[in-house]
Amino acid sequence: MPTQPITSETMPKEHYLNADYGIRSWLLTIDHKRIALLYLLSVTVAFALGGAYAVLVRLELLTPAGDFFTAENYNKMFTAHGVIMVFFFMIPAIPATLGNFLLPMMIGAKDLAFPRINLLSWYLYVVGFLVTLGALFVGGLDTGWTFYTPYSTAFANSNVVAAGVGIFISGFSSILTGFNFIVTIHKMRAPGMTWFRMPLFVWAHYATSLIQILGTPVVAVTILMVAAERLFKFGFFDPTRGGDPILFQHLFWFYSHPAVYIMILPAMGVISELVTCFSRKRVFGYDFIAMSSLAIAVLSFLVWAHHMFVSGMSVYAAMIFSALSFLVAIPSAIKVFNWTATLFRGSVSWQTPMLYAMGFIGLFLIGGLTGLFLASVGLDIHVTDTYFIVAHFHYVMVGGTIMAYLGGLHFWWPKMTGRLYPEWWARVSAVLVFVGFNTTFLPQFILGYLGMPRRYYAYPEEFQVLNVMSTAGASILGVGFLLPIFYLAWSMRYGRISSANPWPATGLEWQTPSPPPTENFPRTPVVDEEAYDYTRPPKEIALV
């Protein structure tokens, strides 16, 4: 088993990147692989912008006094960070880049079911992003990414409606991607590719798509209601007009809780692929991992009010939501156990994707376990709206999703570009990300538990040491995130040329050249073996 990726002398002569030239061939493409790269570029821009706002937030928090920004401007900074990161990075990152690129290939299809709608999804994303950025830059939004009423409807002077419109538009990007994936997985699988032979990455994206379809429309209509309240003085959420602000929270979190599973499920799909390849061992408990993805998709819709325990909702309903929230941790735990069992007695190698995968498992564990603390109503009341919450969700979102995203990006980079990334630089970045991340967010658990509130620009003196540590960690984390942008771009021109299957890994996507031809497979593959069979050398595709 090679510990160095297999290189090649030459790139394939014709592939999807050189099939056509010019800006029109990119902006009017219907090739899912090109659309994936369009998304890659867009979400990277979003990540950089969201990260810039994070830098500003952490700069303010270096000192206990609110001396860098005014209170209102600080509100605008963390709101911008949240809005950009949640809606324009975390939700689309893995599905729209890796999912778009790999899904058809993994099931042996030529493209997604609706290629033109796929392109429309990207345009909706871009338009939504530009509209939202307009609102964030010109005048700003200070409600927090959660838009709670009645502040957002009756009191905020900021661009709530404009930002809402931008997010609404990008919501439809998400819905259309989900809808495309569902139909593709049902209808476009190659002969012999039964449901239980599909890669777990596909299962994960199927479950994600279910959430996108069933959850996003609710937040979309809620945004319309907020806009109607601001523009036409409808009174849905305004107590002075007979409305209930808590109803907004119900409607908002009905989507926004499942949304976090939109963010984590694809990441879990990536991890399944990485762990099996870099242990050279079939994934343990395939059926359980597949079914747990569906279980998460369903259960995620039943727990939303754990974000609302202190809102004034019924205590009795809160108890039910608390119990259900404990339940939803079980399928996630099943996955972690199965990945660990996959590693056991495997032949483990430590290339960059595996570093990220191992980082994911540890950090997701911490994030997930602290989620259980928060599911307990009694403890949640103590730490809600403190930095404990901030630390919890950054552990799952950054320590979880972003590490998986980076791991997947590196793993499939040779497939997407035909080039190998520079391994040494990549490992250094992975370590910087891990160290920087923990230095940033571990102190925040302590800060939150000690009582430091979130969304405040000033804090008591005694919290300064931990805050300075957190900001220092953020600098390291920033370097760790910036480096890949540079060396990955560099590798597209100067990286060593990869073979078709450098690792080598199982999966249909690896049985076609790197980079692949536009139609993915010269002829439709026929599948006759189970997924992840690492006992045999990777075979050539059986052609029809």
Binding site: K187, T194, L214, I246, H250, F254, L302, M313, S314, A317
Partner: protein
Amino acid sequence: MAEHTPHADAVDLGPHEHVVSPKLYVGIFAALMVLTYLTVEAAGHDFGIFNTVVALGIASTKALLVIAFFMHVRWAGKLVVLVVASGFVWLGFLILITMSDYLSRGFSLVTG
């Protein structure tokens, strides 16, 4: 007219081509109009809480007729039925679980 035959490995083979007779459509249309009349008629009487039940029951029946016959779900595969059902089940989650908050706000297991 194509027959409705079961498929061999019918995992994802969707609806078989099934041309519905216009007479059936007209029949369903008549039923829908009758039900509309009934719902207006029922609203003219005082059934107390059951006014709501009757109204929703009639509306659901009408919806079911449209879904099954006008939208061909009667002859569609299990997958389509699952998709339709999921939409309504999720709607149920949203409405019923949110309602549970409002319904239980007045509870008091502890006096004082």
